[in-house]
Amino acid sequence: MSVLPYPIFHFEPDFTREPRYGVASAQAPLKISNATEVVLFHQERADRIFAFDFALSGSAGFALAEFFRERGGITRPFFLPSWRRDLQHLASVSAGQTTIDVEYINYSVTHLTGTSLDHYGRFVFIWTPGQSVFVERVIQAVPTGTSYDTLSLDSPIPFTADKQLVLMGFAHVARFTEQSLDLTHIRPSLCSAEITFRSYREAITI
């Protein structure tokens, strides 16, 4: 069983206010007199941007504030579930299983190869109502023709992953993009927050 190198950002977005996704890179246009404009690309690869709104009840606002402080604002990364159905799993999986079949996307080449530009998929999240978000490393992906990919996870799924209920996608190594976090409370036990995250390339080679 693996020990995740980063904690999981387990707060669910408020889906009544659509989560927003994007990609961004660092570049600067350089314009000299009448010459053709030159664009300087500062980064070889783009980062992914996630802008989520949250409506937090109970003590979740306090927990979010503590998470932000413990991460030192932008300083320390964490696993951020994309909260999208990046992967469609094909059949229910009982608790304790370490393999799961997903619709074919040529997973091993697209996401597990180091040279792939889009190898964000080395970690996946699995969520089902009433359970904590489960994040685990994909140690192997075996395609069966072009029908499906069988993913092997580093530790067993702790709950029954019902086909109808499960949300499964990528867990990104991400950071907060801002050094400050604003919480707006409208009741002692209800607050809202708007947070933007940026996923970074991670140096870990596990």
Binding site: Q43, F68, G73, L183, T184
Partner: protein
């Protein structure tokens, strides 16, 4: 050996005016770090603080009597740091605290930053007319706070609120109120931690 630098030149005060929740409370946490992102997408950061600066903003509605009673305190608060309850981070008591009692369990797990030994907390009852009292934390074990014994301490039942507090100053060293009614005003409370 150089003398330690003392940051407090005045005796701290306490601020316990309750917020007008319908006007929202905004809490902001600001951390500081220097970061560099390399061309190949790796990022290096250097945290310059390990504790954030917290800001809390909310509104307090006062009628004529409470406004007049509050004015001397308000003037004093501008010349001394003040313990301010962070209302949104309040926990609930899970046992009753009798008169003279010093042990109370709370619904939140104490963290490094909140509900720590030496800090002050504001115990209060939820109703507008409910009692409230400041107590200091002597020690913490899990979710149980041991309070410093206090003469004249009040009793609080299970489910009372207990708000952690921070030593704060008024932002920009000023306090401002808007006339709400000819006998009432709304003060915009704006504190930040030291």
């Amino acid at each position: 050996m150089p003398a330690p630098i003392t940051t407090l030149s005045a005796t701290p005060l306490f601020f316990n005016a309750r917020p007008a929740w319908e006007r929202t409370i905004a809490v902001s946490i600001k951390m500081q770090a220097i970061s560099t992102t390399s061309r190949d997408g790796l990022m290096q950061t250097h945290a310059t603080t390990n504790r954030g600066i917290y800001t809390i903003r909310y509104a307090v509605v006062r009628n004529r009597a409470s406004r007049l009673a509050y004015q001397p305190t308000q003037l004093a608060q501008l010349t001394a740091p003040t313990w301010v309850p962070f209302w949104p981070f309040r926990a609930l008591t899970t046992n009753s605290l009798g008169i003279g009692g010093t042990s109370v369990s709370i619904s939140l797990l104490s963290s490094v930053d909140w509900f720590a030994a030496g800090d002050w907390v504001l115990l209060y009852e939820a109703s507008a007319a409910g009692t409230n009292q400041w107590r200091q934390i002597a020690s913490v074990t899990g979710q149980t706070l041991t309070l410093v014994a206090l003469g004249g301490s009040l009793a609080f039942g299970t489910g009372s609120s207990i708000a952690p507090a921070r030593l704060c100053v008024r932002e920009r060293g000023e306090a401002q109120a808007d006339l709400y009614h000819e006998t009432s005003e709304i003060e915009s409370v704006n504190f930040r931690t030291l």
